[in-house]
């Protein structure tokens, strides 16, 4: 949080304007919602065209009448649904209340920036804070005039409770939601792991862009001798005899954790980006843009 106590201060807003220009330069006039309305896919509402079936493709859109008539497998092509929603989940568990700057502040800035870009490009944006479940939620909004509402919502969010991404997804997607893009801003320090939670997204046929936040203190903790490590969420303690070898092993373990998340996302065709809180958030957003997931 800034010195005057406001998370989204003047400087932050200037950076958002910069991001707006960047996003327009990268994909001029074609934000996610507008652009995909022209896209022809195998799923959609309106018929658009035919094309030759390729072996291995889903046969649900095969035009069987044409097959009977011409003895050829022809697929029907539909226009994609327009204006799919963006669900921005930001981690508000206790573990986010750590680091300099706080991971939670950093996550909220990321969420705010992505929300800003989404609203600016007429997407419908949901903001969801979660810990063991949904803790705060801003219902679906669209239009640039909703930006300040979103900022106030994020500013009022608090970091507390344990992490359970699975519970949050179960809770959120238990009601029927439109297929969209789930942006998950988190440190992914979930006791039961992230796999089951992300599998839920597959189940609900949601697209995912994972933003992995960590602080430099987490990667290279300043520990020496014997120390009792207390889990900020669970309150449990672990007695650790710190050695340089152990610190190296911990760093490797952290990298391994990040790599697992990255490879899991890649395997499912999802976007993944990770950043230390030392990196300016706008740089991270640009990195997100470059991955081509959030904007095309």
């Amino acid at each position: 949080m800034s010195e005057d106590g406001t998370l989204f201060d003047e400087e932050f807003l200037k950076k958002l304007e910069y991001l707006e220009i960047i996003s327009n330069n990268m994909v001029p006039g074609h934000l996610h919602g507008e652009h995909r309305a022209k896209k022809k896919t195998d799923s959609g509402i309106e018929f658009a065209d035919y094309r030759q079936y390729v072996a291995g493709e889903d046969t649900k859109n095969v035009d069987w009448r044409t097959y009977l008539r011409l003895d050829k497998l022809i697929l029907r092509i539909f226009e994609e649904e327009a204006d799919l929603p963006i669900y921005i989940f930001f981690d508000s568990s206790k573990s986010m209340d750590y680091g300099h700057p706080l991971k939670f502040d950093y996550a909220r800035k990321i969420a705010a920036a992505l929300c800003y870009v989404g609203l600016l490009n007429l997407d419908r944006v949901n903001l969801i804070g979660y810990a063991e479940g949904i803790t705060q939620e801003m219902s679906s909004r669209s239009g640039k005039n909703q930006v300040w509402h979103a900022f106030r919502f994020l500013e009022s969010a608090k970091a507390d409770g344990n992490t359970s991404i699975e519970q949050a997804f179960k809770s959120f997607f238990s009601v029927r939601r439109r297929r969209g893009l789930v942006v998950l801003v988190s440190d992914f320090l979930d006791e039961i792991g992230f796999e089951r939670a992300l599998d839920l997204l597959k189940h609900f046929r949601q697209d995912l862009f994972a933003v992995h936040i960590y602080s430099s203190e987490e990667l290279r903790p300043d520990l020496s001798d014997e120390v009792l490590l207390k889990d900020s969420e669970l309150g449990t303690t672990e007695l650790v005899k710190v050695t340089p070898g152990l610190l190296d092993a911990y760093a490797n373990k952290f990298e391994e954790h990040c790599d697992q998340l990255d490879s899991y996302c890649r395997k499912n065709g999802w976007g993944y980006v990770r950043a230390s809180t030392d990196v300016p958030f706008e740089d991270l957003i640009v990195q997100v843009f470059r991955q081509g997931r959030f904007v095309r």
Binding site: K94, S95, M96, D97, Y98, G99, K103, T163, D187, L189, D190, E191, E218, P221, L223, D225, E226, V227, L228, L229, K230, D231, S232, E233, L234, T236, T237, E238, L239, V240, K241, T243, P244, G245, L246, A249, Y250, K253, F254, H257
Partner: protein, 620 residues
């Protein structure tokens, strides 16, 4: 392995203590610092994997502890001067006889006494010996009576206990065994006969010394009222010496003189003490660079020079008239009872088988007095009474034995003496304040309360009443009779000569006496078979007091042989003598079994290893 400065028990306790401290430091660690982290998820996964190597971690911890223990034990052991046992089975035996006669207190030119040198050489000898050898320490004055060999550490302790013997005679101790090495460390002054198998280590070096070899205060044979001091001064130096002599007495009385004596010359003098008052007499001699100071002063006591008038009233007693004149300062006025005039004053009255009607004006000794008013009456005549008791601790009985006393006839008289009852029922004889009442001033010297044969009292004058006559007993024929008369005279006129004494242990026939020196400082004493015993470590006039009884002891080192500290029988040219210089050389060439420096080196190496492994995080 053995420890030079620790007993096995102490070494064990010391090492256990050191190990315990290190162990406690390892176990009693401060609580670890607590740190809050976002999540312990990754740490738990990591530690779960690491637990596979818990055994290795424990080994590291134990390695660290073992290194620390090794360091502490090595350093603790080094403090005890550890030694290895070099020889394989042969027992090394060494006997050291150390001369602790008086002349060993002579100070050498280097400022140390011959005794200091002897002790240092003795310890060096012990260090040369095998760690597991047997050692026997003996001395020439009998301070160490044990003939059992001991280990080296105990032998070192025995050497530390030994002191120069000031008074007792010195001789080479009986030593029958010829097994092992026999060393004799001496200055060769007091001991000159040494076994052939003994290797003599001489600590002799020539020094200057003058001393008093004789000092005595005695009456002038030609004048019973005059006293003389007889003294003898010797120059034991190897060159002539100018000697200052000073004789000082009570008050301002001083006699001083200077005399020059050639090397080895002896001079005796007789000095008239007419100008000296009654009291202690001190003789001192001084010269340049005197190495032996114990013989530079001597003490005595000048008794009263008044002529004691004794009135002897007897119908005729050859025993008394023959015994009394031996005391030269007595003026005896003998008379028969009819001639006695109670108005004629005397210092002492002796009534033999007679007593005046009125009490005499001074102390009195009465043998079998008849019934008179001022004496308790006679009750019966007892024939051949047995002597069942006499007070050996009383001053009247000093050096007097009554074992062979036979009495044909005595009388029983009522005695107020309750000496026996005091011991059994003291509350009956104390006044309201708890003090013993005046009746206790009567004491039974010989006899029992039922039959007192000699009673002494002090109220109003000292009086001794004897219940038998000399003619009815063999008392005058006893060797102790003149001594008894002498004791009576000394007690009654309260004057004594000083008893002669030598340096060292002094035993005085007084029970529970209090000992003071010339300055009035109390000297610690003990009791030995009813006698008072104290140690006189330097010449002086000591006083033993018990109530009104006072015994003076003049302790002097007036011995020509002790003064001649340069008459050593062990000359450095004698081949049988091992000179200290050669001995020191041998000491350097001797192989040492000490390991303390090895231990320190190993401990230092271990510290480096510990430092290295810690900083490499091998042991954490």
């Amino acid at each position: 392995m053995n420890f030079m400065y620790m007993t096995p028990l102490f070494a064990g306790l010391f090492l256990a203590g050191a190990a315990t401290i290190v162990g406690l430091l390892y176990w009693l660690k401060p609580p670890p610092r607590q740190l809050t982290i976002p999540s312990s998820l990754l740490w738990k996964r990591l530690l779960k994997e690491k637990r596979r190597s818990t055994l290795l971690d424990r080994l590291r911890w134990w390695l660290s502890l073992i290194i620390a223990l090794a360091i502490s034990l090595l350093m603790a052991s080094a403090m005890g001067r550890p030694e290895f046992l070099w020889n394989g089975g042969d027992i090394f035996r060494m006997t050291i006889v150390i001369d602790n006669s008086t002349t060993m207190a002579t100070r050498s030119a280097d400022g140390f006494t011959r005794w200091d040198h002897a002790l240092a050489l003795g310890k060096e000898l012990l260090k040369q010996g095998s760690v597991d050898g047997e050692f026997l320490i003996l001395d020439t004055s009998g301070q160490l009576s044990s003939r059992n060999p001991t280990d080296r550490r105990s032998a070192l302790g025995l050497l530390d206990k030994l002191t120069v013997s000031l008074g007792s005679s010195s001789r080479f101790p009986d030593y029958a065994s010829t097994d092992g090495l026999l060393y004799f460390i001496s200055d060769g002054v007091m001991i000159d006969e040494v076994p052939d198998n003994a290797q003599v280590i001489s600590v002799y070096s020539s020094v200057d010394n003058v001393g008093i070899t004789a000092f005595k205060v005695a009456p002038d044979p030609s004048d019973p009222l005059a006293y003389q001091a007889f003294l003898e001064i010797a120059n034991a130096s190897l060159e002539s010496k100018e000697i200052s002599m000073r004789l000082s007495g009570a008050g301002e009385s001083v006699f001083s003189d200077t005399l020059t004596l050639q090397a080895g010359e002896l001079e005796g003098r007789t000095i008239d003490l007419s100008g000296f008052a009654r009291g202690p007499i001190r003789l001192t001699v001084a010269t340049e660079s005197d190495a032996f100071t114990l013989d530079d002063k001597a003490f005595s006591f000048l008794p009263t020079r008044n002529l004691t008038q004794v009135t002897l009233v007897s119908p005729g007693s050859a025993y008394l008239q023959n015994a009394l004149p031996d005391r030269q300062n007595l003026m005896i006025n003998s008379m028969i009872p009819e001639e006695f005039d109670n108005d004629v004053k005397a210092d002492l009255y002796i009534f033999d088988r007679w007593a005046p009607q009125d009490p005499p004006m001074g102390p009195a000794l009465l043998f079998l007095p008849p019934n008179v008013e001022w004496l308790s009456p006679m009750e019966a005549v007892v024939t051949s009474p047995s002597i069942s008791y006499w007070d050996q601790g009383h001053v009247l009985m000093n050096f007097v034995s009554l074992k062979d006393l036979r009495i044909d006839q005595a009388v029983r008289f009522y005695s107020e003496a309750v000496d026996f009852n005091i011991k059994t029922n003291p509350e009956d004889h104390t006044d309201d304040s708890g003090a013993i009442s005046s009746i206790h001033k009567s004491e039974i010297i010989i006899g029992t309360p039922e039959l007192p044969l000699m009673v002494a009292s002090e109220d109003p004058h000292k009086m001794i009443r004897v219940a038998f006559s000399l003619e009815d007993s063999n008392f005058p024929l006893q060797p102790g009779f003149p001594i008894f008369l002498n004791n009576v005279l000394s007690w009654m006129i309260d004057d004594q000569h000083a008893l002669p004494g030598s340096l060292g242990r002094i035993e005085v026939p007084v029970t529970e006496g209090e000992v003071t020196d010339l300055e009035g400082e109390e000297i610690s004493s003990s009791q030995f078979f009813g006698n008072t015993v104290f140690m006189a470590n330097e010449p002086g006039l000591y006083t033993v007091t018990l109530g009104s009884q006072r015994i003076r002891v003049a302790v002097n080192l007036t011995d020509y042989k002790r003064t001649t500290v340069n008459t050593s029988s062990f000359s450095p040219e004698d081949r049988a003598v091992v000179s200290p210089e050669i001995f020191s050389l041998n000491r350097e060439e001797a192989s040492s079994g000490e390991l303390w420096f090895v231990f320190i080196w190993i401990a230092t190496l271990m510290v480096i290893i510990e430092w290295f492994t810690y900083h490499r995080r091998w042991t954490v």
